[in-house]
Symmetry: D2
Subunit: 427 residues, 4 copies
Amino acid sequence: MAKLLGKLHEEKVFKDPVHRYIHVRDELIWRLIGTREFQRLRRIRQLGTTYLTFHGAEHSRFSHSLGVYEITRRIIDIFQEKKTWDPEKRLLVLSAALLHDVGHGPFSHSFEKVFGVDHEEFSRDIILGDTEVHRVLLQMGEDFPVQVAEVIAKTHRDKLIVSLISSQIDADRMDYLLRDAYFTGVSYGNFDIERILRVMRPTEDGVVIKSSGMHAVEDYIMSRYQMYWQVYFHPVTRSAEVILSKILHRAKELYETGYTFKRELSHFKTLFDGNVSLHDYISLDEGVIHYYFQDWMEEEDSILSDLCHRFIDRKLFKYTEMVSFTDGHLLSSYFTEAGINPKYYLVVDSSSDLPYDFYRPGEKEERLPINLLKPNGDIRELSRESDVVEAISGKRRTDHKLYYPLDLIEAIEDITLKSKIKEILNR
Amino acid sequence: MAKLLGKLHEEKVFKDPVHRYIHVRDELIWRLIGTREFQRLRRIRQLGTTYLTFHGAEHSRFSHSLGVYEITRRIIDIFQEKKTWDPEKRLLVLSAALLHDVGHGPFSHSFEKVFGVDHEEFSRDIILGDTEVHRVLLQMGEDFPVQVAEVIAKTHRDKLIVSLISSQIDADRMDYLLRDAYFTGVSYGNFDIERILRVMRPTEDGVVIKSSGMHAVEDYIMSRYQMYWQVYFHPVTRSAEVILSKILHRAKELYETGYTFKRELSHFKTLFDGNVSLHDYISLDEGVIHYYFQDWMEEEDSILSDLCHRFIDRKLFKYTEMVSFTDGHLLSSYFTEAGINPKYYLVVDSSSDLPYDFYRPGEKEERLPINLLKPNGDIRELSRESDVVEAISGKRRTDHKLYYPLDLIEAIEDITLKSKIKEILNR
Amino acid sequence: MAKLLGKLHEEKVFKDPVHRYIHVRDELIWRLIGTREFQRLRRIRQLGTTYLTFHGAEHSRFSHSLGVYEITRRIIDIFQEKKTWDPEKRLLVLSAALLHDVGHGPFSHSFEKVFGVDHEEFSRDIILGDTEVHRVLLQMGEDFPVQVAEVIAKTHRDKLIVSLISSQIDADRMDYLLRDAYFTGVSYGNFDIERILRVMRPTEDGVVIKSSGMHAVEDYIMSRYQMYWQVYFHPVTRSAEVILSKILHRAKELYETGYTFKRELSHFKTLFDGNVSLHDYISLDEGVIHYYFQDWMEEEDSILSDLCHRFIDRKLFKYTEMVSFTDGHLLSSYFTEAGINPKYYLVVDSSSDLPYDFYRPGEKEERLPINLLKPNGDIRELSRESDVVEAISGKRRTDHKLYYPLDLIEAIEDITLKSKIKEILNR
Amino acid sequence: MAKLLGKLHEEKVFKDPVHRYIHVRDELIWRLIGTREFQRLRRIRQLGTTYLTFHGAEHSRFSHSLGVYEITRRIIDIFQEKKTWDPEKRLLVLSAALLHDVGHGPFSHSFEKVFGVDHEEFSRDIILGDTEVHRVLLQMGEDFPVQVAEVIAKTHRDKLIVSLISSQIDADRMDYLLRDAYFTGVSYGNFDIERILRVMRPTEDGVVIKSSGMHAVEDYIMSRYQMYWQVYFHPVTRSAEVILSKILHRAKELYETGYTFKRELSHFKTLFDGNVSLHDYISLDEGVIHYYFQDWMEEEDSILSDLCHRFIDRKLFKYTEMVSFTDGHLLSSYFTEAGINPKYYLVVDSSSDLPYDFYRPGEKEERLPINLLKPNGDIRELSRESDVVEAISGKRRTDHKLYYPLDLIEAIEDITLKSKIKEILNR
């Protein structure tokens, strides 16, 4: 089957604050961006609840997806200029780059944990199902959608292509570090992406980095390290995330125990039932979630209504360092005694649960590590060459915090009970 | 009545990409930020539909409001350092700066035009009504909320205070130019705000600018000029705005003619009836609007459903330069003949209708112009001193465009009719 | 004769703060950069005495020359990508871009005025004479050096090539605005160069700009306007320039009247005699000038020694707005009476004398104006389309200032005489 | 004795690209900046020969000194605002900050090694000797110059003051990292200085950092690490430094062995004799050095003339990784055989010799380490709290390189000899 989509008559550009301009030269890419499934990413924030900590972090997955596409495009252009790349693969990689997050829903992390859904599955469904995206991809050949899906799923046989989209230094990570730093306004996320792109070299087993560019890569790894702990794992963001999870848990529990909601649950019903359809899933976005949460603020169930109020009006839980099991057990019973349900109001959150990973070669399910290409042709894994990277790559760092509603505790009338609770929390 | 709120024990900061940090030292300001009415501004984009043209423009009125507060705080700090300012006025100005946009709803411009509501009235209602904002303000004295409302309404007797919030070079404009430039990624919006703040001088009649800073102010005016035409009046943004207005018109028309909507209209009902309450108004945000529009995509009425689909999936109208009355009349009848309702699908939009103004001293309803303070103490209005400003200040520039759905036209089966329409549009 | 220099085995890059990286792919360019005549530009500041006003302005003509080369390279790459450019011309333009300032000496403006030398002539001599630059150029063909010289002299028959290096919006101007803004730290010089490069189109008569890019060009013109008045014509810079000129005048006068200098004048001798050789000229740089000025601080002649001390230790003249002829005449006689030689210590400087020009189409000796390419193929000169540009393009603005040594005036013992002088200066 | 210098009538500002503006409010500071000894710093580059690698690095010690002053001023302003600082100490610290580098000569590192001079001694001499700086300082009290000198020499009894100027995280280091990064254009040097200034707390034993700011400090340490290896120890810069040292060595050797220089050696004579006076020292600047080197290009001695030519025209030595002693010995004898003097043309350079240090608490002559202030009041040294810092703080990293003139080797006529040399160098 012939490829029906060629070059655009005239290049299109998007103004982008991170990459200055995003350049689109291919009809295929232009049409993919125009599909409703891709446009939907405008309604899903890239960083979930982070905007409640860093108010600038209001950017969407739409912007990020364009950015990943653009970085990939630049890498390929450099490869093609050096004649080290097969031009036939170009559109496959670009499509995968653009669509790698297309299955993301609102606040993915919490939704996936509570409802057992998986954005990677939805990405696959959107690419292969009855969608505008699928129909556009099909113009490039009957096999094309499957190939795109395989690249995103990391099962494609061409390891080089996969490594551009998913490795320890792929276009995805490079874009989100730069973009999240730009929008939050923190200075940590910067690294010299132009230099990194210039020292990338394609090999059969994936992209490697010329060792002369090691320092630029060290800087990138350090940026990641700082961004994770300063932004992604920020305890206030996690407080909002904790409340969000508890809202979903509570609503599901109520549904399962036959509670009658004031308003119909259309979007949520299939989620609760565990059989959400692609159509329903696609119609979910952050606006819809906010709509329901605002609605639920008026529900009879005081836990659901209180939690929704907290999320919408940003009355978050406070946190403290993790307490001992004994203290935790005590707190839990004190809470119950005070009429505060500890299941929803006393929450341990551990940051290493979050879907971000440091650079950890050697662990299972690892991503392709960063390999340096020495002048003599040898390949050496980065952490064996760099002291700094070695220092942070071995150590899984977890941070356990205990979240609780300070306002409810302050409102406890039994002075003794209140002081016992506060004594433990301030220990 | 005593002022109950003093200095914070420890200064709080917000990381802000435009001003680096936003500093809060006053308990009053801290509590105002925490109110639900202020937090609601997180759910309303600063630039309405602009994100459909510049994908980075996803920032909210929340961020902007913090920015206006911060600029005002810096101006006052400089005034106080020079002992040219009465410290008693400080919290009044800062509150007004923070709250100046608190009455804004989603896509204000279109909503106000279609439903006759007015965000300035809602600002007043939020400040004086039964709200968290009002209760916090009341802590500063019984008279305090009224005074804040007056400053925002520009009716306060202290012209200096008013000029900080509303003039041709106020904290509001300075923040939005810098912020909108930052988030869209265009380079035009930059000017040397530090310099401008340093050459501001308070007078009884408002802020004036030391004439040695004229060039910095020229640069600010040119930034505005460029931002208006490059960003705010961008024809693609206006296409989305046109569709949005037509959705609201259509839904209202359907409601008024007794059409039965599939889903209840709770939020919209009072808007349609023209008696929206403060409570209903506050619950409106962009998420809610998006929710309804997605719902309406499934309505029976094909116009409403088509327009909602266009807005949500970004299938916008194309545009052309304005045509003659004769041609417009012809087009309208051709459209009708082709079964395309010209009332909703053939729309003239003029940019000078939009709520942005150039710098036009001498027109009625003018804002306080920019006055330069000469070394000899004379005051001269800017456009009399600056060639560049003079050049652009006199001329009202309007831009009329005609919007239409190219896809529907392409789908017209009557070849002759179609070609007659296209001939006029491409003339 | 064959072209002996081809592509480099591997691209070379220079880290550049303005353009991020400067890319060199051609052996020819690489070798030209390595010549002693080009390396000499490291020892000549781009902005002459401006560093005495803006301390960051310490950057050299070397950096600027690389920048002009890089911008030209990017323009050509875009042209070649669009197949609208003859690749044969590439190295000619790039060489001319790189070498356009190679004839500049230290503080060119003053030197040229006092000694009647001309940097354009020296550029020609360096390109065509017995130099490393010439020998490298010769590798590209016997005719090549002459062609490069012609492009720089604007006499080359290919108007397109000339327009890239010398027009109202050439690579030279674009680099110096961005670079001078970067190093001084002022915000005015920024404009969207990426956008401008993308809307440039080659024609036989020179580069034109697609009219859709008009706003970016307006912004560039406004940047120029601001940079001229805020940076290039800054009165403090001109004070240093005035003193510099007077030093050269005085030394020349002394030489011509047979004064015996303590130290030999080797570098200056031929300048004074009006027959400076290329060899002598090339050995002049700012270090040499500083060396002599420091030496001359110890000369017997009190005027020469005082002026050198002022220049080296930055004890500049103060300035006032220009006075009337009558007052000037009076001042001059008062100065003489007070023993201060007015020829050296009472100096009128007019900024429109400086070698910068606004955008003034229609004047003689004009540079190629900026032409806009309309969608219908028409060409329209910029100031006919843009209000803002029209506003500033017609008006020659001159600024006359009177410079004088306040310290010497303060030291006048005759109280009456002193007060008469100060009365006029403070009028 | 009374303090004669007070506040300026009106604040003065310098435009600075790194800190936006530098603010001067004190007559004392304003006058110090105007002294000839301070103005002289304009003629000495901050980064010595680095401009031959990074062409943007043309900034002077003058700019850096203003920057150190400005950072110190901001720290003190924050301290004073929090009432944690004795205002009496203000001008002492600011003067020391401004003058900390005033004794630096051109290319200090090489000059100090070759001639045994010490810029710290000259700083002291300038502050206490017969200079304009001294006379200005004296206006603040008879004891004031000595105190300033003691702060700079780190012998002052007030450890807090000393720590602001000299510690592992002092104003000096913070300015040079930001400034050198800005002017070279590398991205590595950035860190969040505003955050660091806000978490600094004064104690009797020096400044400490609130532990909540640890990540910002980690980022600062990583910036240093990257800047040292990417910029300060760049092998090309060291090549120029090697040649510079060898020029000085050769000239001194010639002088000591009675060689007759064509031109008189005035500035250098006392340096060669080892008894340079303050007056001579002050007249030395990079212009003077360049003047002599250009002169010496025409000397009879072929080694001196060749090395000067290399330095001026940037025909640097190539380098390779260090070779074994055996190979080094062999190379040396081959060089001699080929008529190339290995003493001047075969040079080992080790970067750990350079006057930059990592963060190494516990070594002798250490600077005050970075101490974190925990919420409970404990003080902990940074590397005990931070994995990343711990990783790099223990390890002294040295880099040995061997420098040689490739062009001379290529010109060896004895093919066998040449190939033996090249074989070792390319091993």
